[in-house]
């Protein structure tokens, strides 16, 4: 009985902390006013897919990324990861983050992009004029 109890305890400890699990990293994407951007996405430069943030809180959380070549990118403490944070109508930011053992949670503020082309110089619309017939060109090709 005592042997069984010891073995269960040993296996239980082993499953709670496996070698392949990464540290969870949480990114909050906010605008200039500190409000969450519901349409923001987070993506690793080597990743094919983009990860949408939570529309209510504006955050994305992950501990591992799956790359197009089939490999896994596990967030390990004392390592650095690069993330591209973007949203429609905002300037994209590329951030570098050093993963810690715990409390990997940070904000990314995006600057709004100016989509108002107000500085465009309008050309002048000419009045209709009859063009003079050119006397130099024309005629059938030989």
């Amino acid at each position: 009985m005592s042997v069984l109890l010891i073995s269960l305890l040993t296996f239980g400890c082993a499953t709670t902390k496996s070698q392949g699990d990464g540290v969870p990293v949480k990114v909050y994407v906010l605008d200039d006013g500190g409000k969450p951007i519901p349409t923001a996405v987070v993506r690793h430069p080597k990743e094919a897919d983009r990860h949408r943030v939570n529309a209510e809180t504006g955050h994305w959380e992950g501990s591992v990324l799956y790359l197009p070549d089939g490999s896994e990118l596990i967030f390990q403490p004392n390592t650095s990861i690069q993330l591209e944070v973007s949203a429609p109508g905002y300037l994209t930011k590329v951030i570098q983050y050093d993963i810690k053992k715990r409390r990997n949670q940070f904000d990314v503020k995006l600057d709004a992009m100016n989509l108002q082309a107000t500085d465009l110089e309008e050309p002048i619309i000419q009045f209709g004029r009859d063009k003079k017939k050119t006397e130099s060109g024309g005629g059938a090709a030989n």
């Binding site: 519901p38 349409t39 996405v41 993506r43 430069p45 983009r50 529309a55 591209e84 973007s86 949203a87 429609p88 109508g89 905002y90 300037l91 994209t92 590329v94 992009m113 100016n114 989509l115 108002q116 082309a117 107000t118 465009l120 110089e121 309008e122 050309p123 002048i124 619309i125 000419q126 009045f127 209709g128 009859d130």
Partner: protein, 436 residues
Amino acid sequence: MNTLKPAFLFLMSTGVALANGWEDYNKAFPKFPCPDGWSTCDVDGKTVGPGLVTDSEGNPMPANMRFSFWGFESLPASSPFSGLSEYNGDLGSREIKADEPVAQPEPKAPRGGGIPDLPSGDVVASGGWDEPEPEDEPADVVVPPPAYEPPVYEDPAEVVPAPVTPPPPPADDGGGYKPPSMAELEAARGARSEEPPPPPPPVPAAIPEPVPEPEPVPEPEPEAVADVALPPPPPPAIEADCDDLRALETKAMLGQRGVANRKCLDGKLAASSKLTSKDKISRVLLADAKARDDKPDWERLMKRHLESIDRSDPNMCLVFAIFLHKRGVGKATQVIKWSDYALENKAKWSGASHTRNVYYLHQLKSEAASRLWKRSEKRFVKDRNEKNEAKASKYRSMAKQSSRAWLDYAKASGKDTSRPLAACVSASGNTEFCPL
């Protein structure tokens, strides 16, 4: 001797075979050699009959030949216009039929102005007039068929020309010429044999209706003129004010054209069939609306110009795209549309204006697509379904492509690349897609 016999027999048989009969000489003896169709006639004192005539050299010729075969001199039958010779023989109980006017059918109204009238005294054979010609056919000269019996005048001085009725106006029933019926012709013949021919009955259609005389205008009394105040002068005719477009351009640039003038130009534009005229008028109206700062009217006029008159002017497309871009995301698709039209005709620009305007057009397209993408993403976040997701993906792709094109053009033309780069990276989410 043996050879002479067959030869003799052959000559005898062929001589008989080649002999002609009298019927082969019919052409030499025509039955009706006279030019008017008779069998015998007197021409210049010579009697022409079915026999032969001789030319000046004595060569016999058929009587109906007009010119001599040998000397080409004229023969008695040369003139086709000679009339019937007078008959001086005993008529017995018969009498020469006088040339009397017959109840004429309605002469056709002259068409085309230069059509000669029919000879009034001639009897027109009804064979050629059975079918009335439609009024709308081209005016042809109606030549009556040659009369079989030309009129015989005893003395031209005594011949009284038949009264010529003026050509009637087209009948109201639209029938045109109607030939007289056989009963009417017979009745006319009977009446002619009993009494001298009456003048042709007046054709009711030929009688012009009396023109109603204008009512006499009562002359105003001089005293009343002094008392009554003059009415205000009528407003000037608006048609006269918008004929000279050149003169209107200055006023249009200042926005000083009134409503009446604008309506006049609008009417001219609607009535004009040439696109070049429409284009000129529309540009004047646009300049006026721009100067008045009447944006709704300017937008309406510009839309009409580009959609129904001409969209080949890249300046107009660019100006309209800029205007719509300022209106917000609701006009973003229109911005892309008119920017594309302007880019189609970008070759009309040159030099610095070309570079600047093309840069503007790429910018407009990119920003409009980014706006659409932003809106569709918001909709998708609110309502996550496949349709909204597809729209978001579509507009993101559009923004990605247009911003990349903007970036590429900015790099190629040496323009500022910061904004196109930001738009490109934002849409693609990937810095590798947007290299500098």
